[in-house]
Symmetry: C2
Amino acid sequence: MKKLADDILAKIGCKNTKPRKAVIEVLESTDNPLSAEDIFLRIKQLGESVNLSTVYRTLDLMETKSLVSKTVMSDGKARYELTVDGHRHHLVCTNCHKSVPIDFCPLEKLEKDIGKKNDFDITGHKLEIYGLCPKCKKE
Amino acid sequence: MKKLADDILAKIGCKNTKPRKAVIEVLESTDNPLSAEDIFLRIKQLGESVNLSTVYRTLDLMETKSLVSKTVMSDGKARYELTVDGHRHHLVCTNCHKSVPIDFCPLEKLEKDIGKKNDFDITGHKLEIYGLCPKCKKE
DNA sequence: ACTTCAAATGCAAATCATTTGCATTTAAAA
DNA sequence: TTTTAAATGCAAATGATTTGCATTTGAAGT
């Protein structure tokens, strides 16, 4: 079977290595942003071995190619997610740090106007909504 | 003359010290988010002396009291700004890192609906719009 | 004003996510 | 296969932020 990971690596025009495939496959398998270490650990759980540096290098590479978005969260760690299926925003629990993707973007229509008004060439945006998730509410 | 810094410190109920006043005054004097080091350097320029640790401690303190908002930017450094006059979003130049405050918030009305839909207690959000500023566009 | 003491500061050392240098390995072009 | 630039692993470096601790200081009570 053909894997998305292979397509992505082919598109970037870089070597199709096992560590890179592993990183992409982990990112594919979730809809929450993951930290480099999350990804590292999940790869290990799958029985493979990668170096954390390589995870970082792969993520950086993909970010430069706009295939991954990087967001530094308030805990000081960055979270990464595939942008292959369009950008996405999240509800983030301020207690347990879990996040839930939301399916719309209030910026899409506004960006152009804002850009014109301020003479900026808008290239993107980042939005996160914070709160307490159902579980943490109860505690 | 009465200073905002004094009011703020009184409100938090903590000691009114020179370093803390200096941090708040620097934050008051700008409408861009500043890094801890930015603040540290500006205080020095004003002829005063503070320790960088103290700047961090003051910012942390104020963040816990919701008087300052902290945003970790993609360069890995956090930027801080007063929230005294309500929260605010910014246009951030991806080239020179300058930022311009924008005066509206597309989330205000939507937050409640999103919260209900996902069973979250929403406490806030963070939004940044990226692009090239007028200067950097030309280069 | 003076005393007292918890709170705040300064300094240096520690932390921790991320980055980097370099020797070794590997994908893929010839 | 052979070749070679690109990628990896490992350990050490980096850099923003945090922390431990001895010293200083604001402000509450006298």
